[in-house]
Every structure is written in structure tokens, then in C-alpha cells.
Amino acid sequence: MSDRIRSGNRWLLGAGLALAFAGAAAAEEIVITDHENREIHLDAPASRIVTIPMPLASGVIALSGGTDRLVGLNPLSLTAIREGILGKIFPDAVNISDAVTGTDFVPNVEALAAVNPDLVVQWAGRGPEIVDPIVNAGLNALLIKYGTEELTRQYMTMVATAIGKPERIAELVDWSDVVQHDIEAKVASIPQDERPNVLYLGRSLSDITAAGDTGSYSSWYIALTGGRNAAAELDGTSSINREQIAQWDPEVILLNSFEPNLDVNWVYDDPILSLTKAAQQHRVYKMPLGGYRWDPPSQESPLTWMWLAELLHPELFDYDLRAEMTKAYKTLYNYQLTEADIDGIIWTAQQGDSLGYDQFAAQ
């Protein structure tokens, strides 16, 4: 036990993200510094965790290797579990309480107390209204910031430390690093004008939204995989109209995985969008939905990057996405993906005809 904590500490100190004092007297105490520079002290690894930020529910499941430690989550996390593969891998997950928070991240203190958590993960930087109720109830709140790959690695590390499994996050970070550097090295030589204009639409069906470069994770992985953000001129996430999309004329359109009724035909059936280069060349893709949605950062993000890299520059990359997914799901969830699972995650039935999707087809 102490060995495990010590090895974790070395890694954490090196990363400069969190401090855990494994003093001789209190060998078991875990100390974590969160994204608001608060110190959280745990006498023992957290075994009952509530996650209020959406992407973290599946993160805790992946880090702890099961659903045992997750006792409460955001209703939207539960939706993603139900719609995606996690509901199939962990049928019990759908019974985890989603009464602990509203979708607006305001905690329900009574429901929180009822599940008796030893750690509650909440968003940082969104005001005290969503944090104070947790702290006032005498519960441990770990506050995390959203947005970049770096922040994601930091908060995943905090959670891994909290549950006493730092080796899990080390493994994940190593994998992310390898994939990221591999992709970076390969796209480095691509001249700017050969990088396709990629438009990620965060919303489509009622309001159409896109995001500029600052604070957008999508724009980060578009750049990583050798694309250019077609909406770079926007400042943050904004509503846009079809005319603006026509003007940008993106070569690739990525649709969000959040809206259940959205598929690529939304673009092909639209009088304006169907004339964009992306639609003309059949390069419209809906983001996959696996253990979590592939649009925001999560433990599965390296798969997002491989998927997108293969679609943007198939000549440069030869990832075997199906094999990579199988391997990752075995590591993350100890689950053996079937061919049908993979097709479901990457929406083969809906967009198997899209350009470049044949490389993902089952052998």
C-alpha cells in the first residue's frame, strides 16, 4: 500500500500537479491540490465518489476499472452512458443516482448526503453557488477546470490520486503522450495550405453553434490532426448562420455527438450546406459516442485524435482504429469490444459511405 502511494507521489511531484505527503506517521493520508488551489485531505483512498462535471463519470469508471466507486453523477452523464456503450459494459451504471445534481451543476445536498460520498468532484471557476452547498454539508469538494488537454490530464491525475490508483493515470497519460507526439510528428511537415478547413458544429438542430480557437478543445484536436479550424475568427462559442458556413466553405464538417436526432443527412438534405465542399466530397462526420462522447476531452481522446487524423490525412497515418479501440477498451473498461460495438460507436450504419470511412470497415 505505502509503496503504491509513494510511487504515485514521485510521479505527481514530478508533474507538479498535486502533492501527497506520505509521512512516516500518516502514511495513508492523501493530499490533493485542486484547480482552485484548495487542498483536499483524504484519510484513505476515496471509495464513494460523486461526479458533477459530465465527462468525469466515465473518467472515474475508467480510472477505477468499474462502477463500484461511482455513487452519484450528472443526469447528462447518465444519458451518455445509456446512449453509449458503457450502459452495455456496466449494466449497473444506469442505477447510479443522478439526483445528486441538476444539469445546471447545482448540487442537491439531500441527495448528495443520501449517497454518503467521501469525494465530490465539481467544476472550478463557476462561482461559489455550486460549491458552497457541498462544503457546507461537510463533504470533500474537488474542483476542476475544463477545456484543454493539459487541464484534463491534471484533473484525471487528481481523481486517480484520490482513489489511490496513480498508476492508472500514468498509464493513460503515457498513452496520450505517445499518440499525441506521433500525430504531431507526422503532421508537422504538412504545409498550411494542405491542411483542410474543418468546421466542428457544437450544436446543429435548433441553433447552429461553432467555436473559435480560444478555449475550444475541438479546435485544439483539429489543429493537432493537421486541420485548420474553419471558425477560427469566432471569439468563443457563438451562434452562426448557414450563410456564414457557406462563406467559410469547410472541406470537412464534424457534427456533435450530443444531439441524439442528428446525423450526417442534416447536412446533405440542407439546400445551403449540401453545396459546401465537405458535403460535395462526402466529408461530413458525426463524432463517435463510446465510453464517453468523443467531442470533449476524456480518457478516450487519443482515439478521437486517431479517428480524425485518419479522416483528414489518410495517406499519412495507418492506425488500425478498430484494433486501437479494442485495445483501449480492454485497458480502460476491461471489456472486449465486438465488431458490432465498434460500428455502433463510430456510426458506421449512418456514415459508413463517407469519404475515408472504408478504412474503418470491419475486415
Binding site: L76, S206, D207, S238, Q244, Q247, P260, N261, P271, I272
Partner: protein, 354 residues
């Protein structure tokens, strides 16, 4: 009945010379035409003005021609329906504002005061929650607005009479109730699908305008405007004291309700296709009153023209200023509120001077 008040001498406060009014109307007409043409020629997608006009001319000369190129689709399928809906909505909302201000004899009244907008918003939010769009959505929106009106009517009717004050108070009560219901729907809506749809729709936007939506909203909006225009003499009478109006042969109670129904029709149709758009019904009538006076025979058409011009102009700004769509409500308030403040000051200064 209208013959009694046809010459209007006693009702219209003061006749302004026709030449001046004629000039004002000519300018309004020209301004609207210019606004529409400019709006069709500008946008985020670069089509040169000449090309846009050419496309427009072709479409008018040879209607029904296949719309092939991106330029044609942008002008004829994106901009044209948007301009048409904006113009109709602006004209109708402003007309509704004038009518309400007339019958309430209060220049600060707008459809929100009667709870109609809130009722319509509730209808729409309910429809979106249930996954209903298109014509059925319009139906539910209209039913929502209309039931708010009926609720106000029942609340305000005491001993067979409706006082204006009780109508306004009832409107506030009913409006608040429907607002709360909208909040409740937002609370229970699915945050991944229906919630953003409701929020976006309530914020007000013409971005989703299509010819289908023009067809859906046009009959109600145009009928509303036309019938209010037909009631122009009545509106003149209703802006007098109830006793005076009765002595002129009007039945203020019933006729007021006729106006309310038309306003509900207009607001329902407008909200259904473009969400809640504020300020137009308040600012435009005041501006028009300053130019053509209080006589509804001139005020109504002037307001309609100005309202259409204003709405087309504001919507053009909303969709062209930045790559992001600027919410319409924000622009109408930013332009409307200061304009309204100026008008109010001028109004009271003028009154003191006389």
C-alpha cells in the same frame, strides 16, 4: 356606423397638411424598399450586389426556375425568406403595439402587458418539449397566446364590465404565470436536445427563416394587419373615454376584445416563426406618432412601414456585423431603449411647451 365619424374632425386631434403626410409616407416607402434591397445584397457570404440583384430579377421574371448555384440559393433561399419574415413581423408587431396603445389610451402598453407573448412562449416551449415543429407548433403557440388572452379576459371581467386597470393587472398575473410555466419546462427539458432549442427560440431570431415558414406565418400576420387597418376608425373612437366612445355609438368593451384577439393572432404567428422579439411594438408607434400624428388612419400604415423597415434593418445588422449571429432581442433593446428614452423626453418637453 363608421359614417358618423368619417370626417373625424372631432376625433383626430389635429389635421396635418396632407402634403407633409404624403411626403412622410413616400419616405417610409422608399426607406423600406431600400432596406429590403440592401438586406438582400449583403451578408456573410460574398455575393456582389449586382449579382444578387440580377438573381432577384431573374427569379421575379422567371419564377419557378431551378435554383442551382450557391449564389442563387443564398439570395433566394436564405436571405429572401428572412427579409420577408422580418418585414412582416416588424410591421405586424408595430401595428399591434399601436392598436393596444390606442385602446388602452396608454403609450407604454405592448403585447407583453396582456400576457399574450408569455402565453405564446409557453405554447412554443411546450411544443418543442414534445418534439413538435412546423405548422402544429404554430397552432400550439397561437393557442397558448390566445388562452392567456382568455384568462385575462375572464379575470378582468367583473360584474359584466372590464376596467382597463383590471385588464392590465390581470395581464401581469397571467403573464407571470405563463413565464413560470416556461421556466418549469426549461427545468425539465432535455439539456441535450430540447433545452437549447427552447432557449434559442425564446431569444428571438430570424436565422431559421425558410419559405415554408413564410407560408406558415404570412396569413395570420397579414390578416392581423389588414383587420386592424379595417378597425382604424374604431381605434380612433376607442382612444377616447369610454363614455365618449359610447356616445359615438361604439361598444368599447366588445370592440376592445376584437382588437385583443387580432393582437393575439399577430403575436402568435410572429412568435411561432421567430421567437420573442421585444421593443418593436413600443418604439416604432411612438416614432410614427411624432411624424404623422395620432390619427389611426395615418398612424397605422405609417407604423407598419416603419416597423417593417426597422425590423429588416436590425435583422440585417444581426446577421452581418460579425461572423456570429447577434441575438435579435439584444439589438432591438440596444437600439430601441435609447430611442425610446429620447422620444419620451421630447414628448414631455413638447407637452410642457404647449
Amino acid at each position: 356606423m363608421s359614417t358618423q365619424i368619417d370626417d373625424g374632425g372631432a376625433i383626430a386631434p389635429r389635421w396635418r397638411p396632407w402634403s407633409r403626410t404624403g411626403f412622410a409616407f413616400a419616405s417610409f416607402g422608399v426607406a423600406l424598399m431600400v432596406a429590403i434591397l440592401v438586406s438582400l445584397c449583403v451578408g456573410r457570404y460574398s455575393v456582389s450586389a449586382m449579382t444578387a440583384l440580377h438573381i432577384l430579377g431573374e427569379a421575379i421574371v422567371h419564377p419557378g426556375q431551378a435554383i442551382e448555384s450557391m449564389d442563387q440559393r443564398i439570395v433566394l433561399l436564405v436571405r429572401a425568406p428572412r427579409v420577408v419574415i422580418a418585414a412582416m413581423a416588424g410591421a405586424a408587431l408595430a401595428t399591434a403595439g399601436v392598436a393596444l396603445q390606442g385602446v388602452f389610451r396608454n403609450p407604454l402598453v405592448s403585447p407583453e402587458v396582456l400576457g399574450i407573448s408569455q402565453g405564446a412562449a409557453f405554447g412554443g416551449a411546450l411544443a418543442i418539449t414534445m418534439g413538435i415543429w412546423g405548422v402544429p407548433l404554430l397552432g400550439i403557440v397561437f393557442i397558448g397566446g390566445f388562452s392567456a388572452l382568455i384568462a385575462v379576459g375572464m379575470l378582468a371581467r367583473i360584474n359584466g364590465q372590464t376596467e382597463i386597470l383590471t385588464v392590465i393587472l390581470s395581464g401581469m398575473v397571467v403573464g407571470s404565470l405563463f413565464s413560470a410555466c416556461v421556466s418549469l419546462l426549461q427545468f425539465i427539458a432535455d439539456p441535450n436536445s430540447s433545452l437549447p432549442a427552447i432557449v434559442y427560440w425564446l431569444m428571438g431570431s430570424f436565422a431559421t427563416a425558410t419559405w415554408d415558414r413564410v407560408l406558415v406565418s404570412a396569413p395570420g400576420l397579414l390578416l392581423g394587419i389588414a383587420l386592424l387597418w379595417a378597425l382604424r376608425f374604431r381605434l380612433n373612437v376607442l382612444s377616447l373615454d369610454d363614455s365618449e366612445a359610447r356616445s359615438l355609438g361604439a361598444r368599447p368593451d366588445q370592440e376592445r376584445w376584437l382588437v385583443f384577439v387580432l393582437v393575439a393572432l399577430i403575436v402568435g404567428c410572429q412568435v411561432a416563426v421567430s421567437g420573442i422579439v421585444g421593443w418593436v411594438g413600443l418604439v416604432i408607434p411612438h416614432a410614427a406618432r411624432l411624424i404623422v400624428g395620432h390619427d389611426h388612419r395615418r398612424l397605422l400604415p405609417a407604423t407598419a412601414l416603419l416597423g417593417a423597415t426597422f425590423m429588416v434593418g436590425v435583422d440585417t445588422l444581426a446577421r452581418t456585423l460579425t461572423a456570429a449571429e447577434i441575438p435579435l432581442g439584444v439589438l432591438t433593446a440596444i437600439i430601441g431603449a435609447p430611442a425610446f428614452a429620447l422620444l419620451l423626453r421630447r414628448h414631455f418637453k413638447d407637452r410642457e411647451a404647449t
